[in-house]
Symmetry: C2
Subunit: 431 residues, 2 copies
Amino acid sequence: RANQARLAETLHESCQFGAAHPYGSDTTETGMARLSLDDSDKAVRDWFIKSAESLGCKVSVDEMGNIFAVRPGKNNDAPPIMMGSHLDTQPTGGRYDGILGVLGGLEVLKVLNENSYETEGPVGVVDWTNEEGARFPKMAVSSGVWAEQVPLEDAWNLKEVTANHDSPKTMKEELTRIGYLGKNPASYRSNPFAAHFELHIEQGPILEDQGQKIGVVEGVQAFKWFEITVKGRDSHAGTTPLYARKDAVLSAARMVAAANPIAKRLGGLTTTGIFETKPGTVNTMAHTVVFTLDIRHMKNETLSQMEEECRAEFQRIAHEDSEKGVEVDWKLLVDSPAVEFNPDCIRVVEQSATDVCSALPQTHADGKLWRRMISGAGHDSCYTNTRCPTSMIFTPTKDGISHNPVEYCSAEDCALGASVLLGAVLRYDKL
Amino acid sequence: RANQARLAETLHESCQFGAAHPYGSDTTETGMARLSLDDSDKAVRDWFIKSAESLGCKVSVDEMGNIFAVRPGKNNDAPPIMMGSHLDTQPTGGRYDGILGVLGGLEVLKVLNENSYETEGPVGVVDWTNEEGARFPKMAVSSGVWAEQVPLEDAWNLKEVTANHDSPKTMKEELTRIGYLGKNPASYRSNPFAAHFELHIEQGPILEDQGQKIGVVEGVQAFKWFEITVKGRDSHAGTTPLYARKDAVLSAARMVAAANPIAKRLGGLTTTGIFETKPGTVNTMAHTVVFTLDIRHMKNETLSQMEEECRAEFQRIAHEDSEKGVEVDWKLLVDSPAVEFNPDCIRVVEQSATDVCSALPQTHADGKLWRRMISGAGHDSCYTNTRCPTSMIFTPTKDGISHNPVEYCSAEDCALGASVLLGAVLRYDKL
Ligand SMILES: NC(=O)NCCC(=O)O
Ligand SMILES: NC(=O)NCCC(=O)O
């Protein structure tokens, strides 16, 4: 079993780097702003490597800055079972999203060490770079490169969107700056895994609403990210009659508003998180708006339908509903089809969850304190799943709130999740 | 009469500072990006002062960086007749908006000099700071301080919106940095004018559409600028059900879209030029959107009605149409009621226009190559009009396009405007 106090302590220790947005007086009552490859991310990476090395791990860094810490087993020719997640956060992020998965992995290694437990094959922990897709707008881009689903150059050339708007830095520049541009290829070929298990907070309301403790994650809903550029014509707000306008802001606002009822009708989600106006003055119509559209649905086919309906509607707005007309251009940033995790991995997680939950004092009306579920959020596991057996473990999330400083998972639930991770890894190691 | 070639040459000479957005191969085929108090604005200010001094003017700078260049007359106890406009531009601005008014003023002084013409009272040219309200979002803020309609501290503390989003500079910091924080009070009391005449491009399509050459401007339509803040809650784009959202971007987009039909129905204009999302990542709903709303109408009462209808509709969207609701807060940036210029000033402009146009080879079906008109754009003259007799002269604007790099007024039309300005000033000087 995981050590609840130790896990909580190291998790919060790691959050000294990048703590932000305090909401209470306790030092742990803050959110996080640890943007990928910024100074606080460098600091927590250094801390992570020191921690892993002190546990006897061999640490390597690849050309995407992914950090692999591996504890040897009996047979070290076999590829390792990796426990992976991420240490980067949203600009207004919480202390658990991703962080729990990496710190939970370290906790598993500590339990193995203190029990002098020798695994069959090696077991390790990986910190994937820029999972959030917050600073550099492709989620899980670095596990994507490892899985050879995202070209290395595309990843390296990604430009930050959260700061330095006039001269954004690229991932490669920032990897170099903080000293995490490793020499090893970022590839499952030269760096294969036996399996990938990811412990993560649910980030949604289901476990809490159902009074359950553990999610056995069977898959991830489909989603796509788009950057949409609307081009009109800059002109004077006081002298340009409405009928003579090519107003990029008005058209883009109509598009954002139009996406929502499509999502509602088809049972999916659409979100615009970035909306930028150029040149950006009060009394000049923008010539250009760049906005993002994140669309999600459980089914690939319905996601396609959502996309098609949005495309048709945006086109209509651009041509029929925008006075002199605007141009609209779609760029795909992320395409993540619905994921089904590996049945063997799901089974060992389920066995481990059953075991861990059976020892709890709580009971549940349905008889089970865990449930099978689908993830609403994307994860590095979506990419690893294309190259090695993969599954995930979820813990409850207070009020279902994530990507927000008040994001919370109790120390007890964190430790339960880590115990399930431990049991799953050991079961898989035996297979 | 103004010297057409000389005016064109000096106008384009002044545009070497801040030229941007080329659209043709000729050096004059560019727009401008001379944002108030930036390095190019400092350079053109230095150039303007040297030019004015070489014409025998006494130059002074006030605490808003307004530059006053005065040519003595017979009786120098009388306040000067000032020809005023501005040398700052939009980020994607043109070579005429404001610039023509200042350079036209210098051209008038040159004509007086070469004719050794002695005016009754002094006559001068003023370059007002940040007329555009582009970099610092209050249009004509510095003539506003001079007119004691805008408090000095409010103006000094205005923060830039076009760059340095993380740590915007204030007007006072930038005035200090470029060395234009003058010692003289910015006030009509210590620095009174006999009158203020402003030559400007129309910035709209009317003169061109009517085949006319000069606008005798009787007034300016009413307008207000607002900064509107919408506060929701940041949460995860993939795990937050639509019904649980406080989506600031979606609500703000609906507000922008809702303002347009109100303007259309009431015969006014609404424009959103700035729309900013925080924290601004693809997969986090924004907790905050800040957008601007510029509303205009010929009539003060209808402008109030437009504002009231927008307020009611935005409130409805915030509370009824936004799932878990958002908060909306309005901040007034500029309040510029409809302006009626001084009848004496209008009359001398009309007399001068009649005289200048009568010498033209062209004729017009209506018999007049000039027309009385109302300005759609705001100008420094709106503020000077509250403290001294004021009126304006308009020249045609190609395709009615302004606040755009391709903004254009022919050299001939520029010179006609300057000649009308000359005639108006000399007539007023005689009164
Ligand atoms: N874990 C997490 O929030 N990742 C972000 C990827 C997504 O947008 O779903
Ligand atoms: N001349 C000019 O375009 N000034 C800007 C003020 C306005 O927004 O009307």
